[in-house]
Amino acid sequence: MSKTLFDKVWDSHVVKHIENGPDVLFIDRHLVHEVTSPVAFLGLKNRGIKVLYPERTFATADHNTPTRNQHLPVKDPLSANQLKALEENANAHNIPYWGLGHKKNGIVHVIGPENGITVPGATIVCGDSHTSTHGAFGAIAFGIGTSEVEMVLSTQCIMQPKPKSLRINVNGELSEAVTPKDVALFIISKLSTSGATGYFAEYAGDVFKNMSMEGRMTVCNLSIEMGARGGMIAPDETTFEYIKGREYTPKGKDWDAAMAYWSTLYSDEDAQFDKELTFDASEIEPMITFGTNPGMGIGISKDIPLAESIDGSPATYKKSLEYMDYNEGEAMVGKPIDFVFLGSCTNGRIEDFRAFASIIKGRKKADNVTAWLVPGSHKVEEAIKEEGILDILTEAGFELREPGCSACLAMNDDKIPAGKYAVSTSNRNFEGRQGPGARTLLASPLVAAAAAVTGKVTDPRELIREEVLA
């Protein structure tokens, strides 16, 4: 029987199927961070059991960590306590722990792929909804709650009903300045934040075939924002090239055996999906959000839609615009901004810093803008330095911070003040997400860079054209 990519990976990981109930799914690799794990470890302690497979478990500190002076003790006592708990739990259970200051430290979804923990055909979970990132490698990866973290620590399994299948095709060629982030925000704007709930997505078509691994990670990362549990892309030469030789990927004969399996990981030609959607790449322009969920995005040259033209409750829509202090029908271009955040598991990789640098090179940071540039990991930070990007940033008046989740969810000190506008390369523009009262405009690194040097919402294509004319 023909199968989808998702079927192949899911079915091979089912330990037991419960009639009219969930599947018991074996988890190959479990990523753990400080926020969603302490209560799970406490559960193990109360039951008097140990982590079943510590060698399949990896821990890092990222959500709570400061992005300055990481060599000093963490000031916030609650954050410090949570970080200490993770370190103690990891040590007590022999789990590799890459804490603050460790050279492999970084955002959990950046360091997984970077170190070869993420491989095709694997099942990967983490107590974080953006675990969907790892689907870029042809893995089934999704976020879980703390009860499930406890299940995986204690039994290496979770219990989940198999989701429905959805394939999203984007064919053709992307236009100038349209990045993977724009592709994802475009899809979410079409589907809404609940359009893919109950589904696991596969991304297919020219656009994803031609995309780098970093780009694929950005797209899969945002799968959760359309409600999907996760999203995945069939592994190909780009994937194998990226993972080969990384610390935890198989070597020698094991590599050959793994490749034999990985090369079977694609949706069969006549595989059936529960739902299939196709978009034309040329329809997509650089995107920006104007509201309080990631589905409220538009092409940057467009006006904020009228309440009467949208699906869903007009009252909810108006409440959202009120929070943003925006009006229906206004243009986004030209709106003043206060902060720029480059980073997060969505756009905190080297390619994102390259894109940002390409716009700001030879320009200066606008005086009215505070910019927080936060690499996704120490490895990204090193690459920024090695490639000369740090010099470009410094010259333009920007400062590079130390790695972590930072202003994406503002658990540390990196909080956007109430009422201020931030163009952010992160993943959520929910009310207060980046700090109580903060107003978030989600966009790509190119749009963020254009805003950072002009102090307002600016179409990056204008700046690129200026360069060409000069």
Binding site: G21, V24, T36, T146, S147, A410
Partner: protein, 198 residues
């Protein structure tokens, strides 16, 4: 973690007729720093419920004494966003045992089922009827009958059935959790693991 068994719940309900209520609203990230499951109910809907100086926002439904009960009724796409189970803990710790909506985000729904909060998905029309019934009488009661998988607006007798898989239903009825089940089949799991390279 064990939780109270769920059978038939009869209670008035608290209405929150807003769509896309995300888990950052249910509990903002800055309140996720605990290492124990304690006190999350105090920060349920923190920024909708309190001003920045800690004084209550009087217009928010949880601060309005005419509404109370063990059932929270929310708009479409309830619980979207972050996987933080703290959101479900906050709902439970505040005193809700059931959330009713016309649509739930996946992870939030799963988290609720794992900790003993029953997510009841109804049709958009029935949700509208519930909101109208509460508007007409804030003390109006709903009956959530888990064995029969039925939700009823007691005043009018209008009812609708809801879905839950048999496995989760038995767990909720008995207060069991998944780890008990998984630990019982650990031999099968170990056998599977032996056949799977790291």
């Amino acid at each position: 973690m064990a939780y109270d068994k769920f059978n038939i719940l009869t209670s008035s309900a608290v209405p929150l007729p807003i769509e896309n209520v995300d888990t950052d609203q249910i509990i903002p990230a800055r309140f996720l720093k605990a290492t124990e499951r304690k006190g999350f109910g105090d920060n349920l809907f923190r920024d909708w419920r309190y001003n920045s100086d800690g004084t209550p926002k009087e217009q928010f439904v949880l601060n309005n004494p005419i509404y109370s009960g063990k059932i929270l009724v929310g708009g479409k796409n309830f619980g979207s966003g972050s996987s933080r189970e703290h959101a479900a803990w906050a709902v439970y710790d505040y005193g809700f045992r059931c959330v009713v909506s016309s649509f739930f985000a996946d992870i939030f729904r799963g988290n609720c089922l794992n900790i003993g909060v029953l997510p009841v998905q109804v049709s958009p029309e029935f949700l509208d009827k519930i909101f109208k019934a509460i508007e007409a009488d804030p003390k109006t009661e709903l009956e959530i009958n888990l064995p029969e998988q039925k939700i009823t607006i007691l005043a009018s007798g209008e009812s609708e059935s809801f879905d839950i898989n048999d496995y989760k239903k038995q767990n909720m009825l008995n207060g069991f959790d998944d780890i008990d089940y998984l630990l019982n089949i650990q031999k099968d799991i170990e056998k599977y693991a032996e056949s799977t390279p790291l």
